[in-house]
Amino acid sequence: MSGSVLYDVPGPRARARNRLYGALATVALVALIGFVLYRLDDTGQFQAGLWDDYEYAETQQRIVDGLLTTLKVFAIAAALSLALGALLATARLSDHKPVRWAATVVVEFFRAMPLLIMIFLLYAAVFTADPMWALVIGLVLYNGSVQAEIFRSGINAVPKGQSEAAYAIGLRKTQVMASVLVPQAVRSMLPSIISQLVVTLKDTSLGFIILYEELLFVGRAFAQQTPPVNGVYAFIPMVIVFGSIYILLCLALSSLATWVERRTQRSRKGAPPAMPADDPALTGDGVHG
């Protein structure tokens, strides 16, 4: 049901009323934004001294370094979590009961634990000297488990006739998986996989809490170093600058997911595979640690 079903086609009076509401809403929003800007200006957040630093090449270099660190963590975590996800999904679809059972326990456990609690554990017990690996392994364990569920439900969503036909012409299970089920499943799961990668990218910022030098941490270190101008510290300019970088990165990746989704929908022949609507792993939002 689209939104327009909820109300009649507006007549002259309804149009006037909607215009009035629209104008009121716009005024309220503009007033709110204006108030925020006024307060920020009033508390001295826009003083030139707080923003000068961003013009220096050295500063920009540090931001780029922080960005590269974040992207490095993201790349390692994404690659390893996809690998772990594939492994766990294979194990959950195995014909051997003990393997299936063990994989289910692993997946359910890591999905149920808050990611930050895992990272605290890894940082305190295993990677005491190396926050990067505590962050990466934590991300891999959590996102790998979620990806495993996405892969598994993607493969289960391929119509049963496909695997039956493949078995009927004498293919072995590995062949059925590799040449029949996976190629069809990848199409329908790609948007969910990318959405989960967006979650991985967002969660790299948890490194900030265990003091790993990723983008957000660079930002804070930076704000702490900048000498206060008239008693105002450079924290809010930092949030504005570094926040925009993060949001743009995540938006770029999410719009890739939307684009892929639209593309696969257009090229798909016949009905799309039915997806269980209540499975959070498939609703396209990703699951957050």
Binding site: A25, L29, A112, L116, L121, A125, I247, G289
Partner: protein, 216 residues
């Protein structure tokens, strides 16, 4: 010796902190999420644009960044008296509201078109159609995804430990730093606390789902 019995008061405080944080931000997220979902389907374009911007922006913001923005930004906007707990509620509630809004909106999309058409044909306005006819039916399909969103919210409260809020994450951090305890045992107890909370949430939602279910 035993981490739990030695630090029972601390664990209790952390547990209560996490439960309170989860409950209050869930409340805020549900109210805001429903409101923004109503904005997103409303006949007023300005409200629709606001709703879309709210959802797009918050869904693509890392929660840690939102925490930073709220804890640093709101005091600068004049809310000086707020302690870190309420700031954490604000950050978690706003973040989760964007996801709740989308869950409710997809719930609205599953309500058969005839329902809204019938409501309009007997002369109901937009707010009557939405509030009395469509939303109550949308709730039925929106409840399972909202349940998993609230479980995600309960897990996300751990991030507040980085911002001076007493909850289970900060208990773990403090005990990890205090020497003499096995770090895995601390983790085990913290994990059990979280599992109690998430199981309770999923139990409540299973109950709700059963009560709202109708035979079609």
């Amino acid at each position: 010796m035993n981490v739990l019995s030695d630090n029972f008061a601390m664990f209790r405080e952390g547990f209560v902190g996490t439960v309170e944080l989860t409950a209050l931000s869930a409340l805020l997220a549900l109210v805001l999420g429903t409101l923004v979902a109503a904005f997103r389907v409303s006949p007023v374009p300005a409200l629709r644009i606001f709703g879309t911007a709210w959802v797009t922006l918050l869904r693509n913001t890392p929660l840690v960044l939102l925490f930073l923005a709220v804890t640093l930004g709101l005091p600068a906007l004049g809310l000086k008296g707020w302690d870190s707990f309420w700031l954490a509620v604000m950050a978690l509630g706003c973040y989760t509201s964007a996801f709740i809004c989308e869950a409710i909106r997809s719930g609205i999309n599953t309500v058969p078109v005839g329902q809204a058409e019938a409501a309009r044909s007997i002369g109901m306005t937009f707010s009557q159609t939405l509030g009395q006819i469509v939303l109550p039916q949308a709730a039925r399909t929106a409840i399972p995804p909202i349940g998993s969103l609230l479980i995600a919210l309960a897990k996300n409260t751990a991030i507040a430990s980085g911002f001076n809020v007493t909850e289970l994450g900060s208990v773990q951090k403090t005990l990890n730093a205090a020497s003499g305890y096995n770090i895995y045992v601390i983790f085990l107890w913290i994990a059990i606390c979280y599992i109690i909370i998430t199981f309770t949430i999923s139990g409540i939602f299973r109950l709700l789902e059963n009560r709202l279910a109708v035979a079609r």
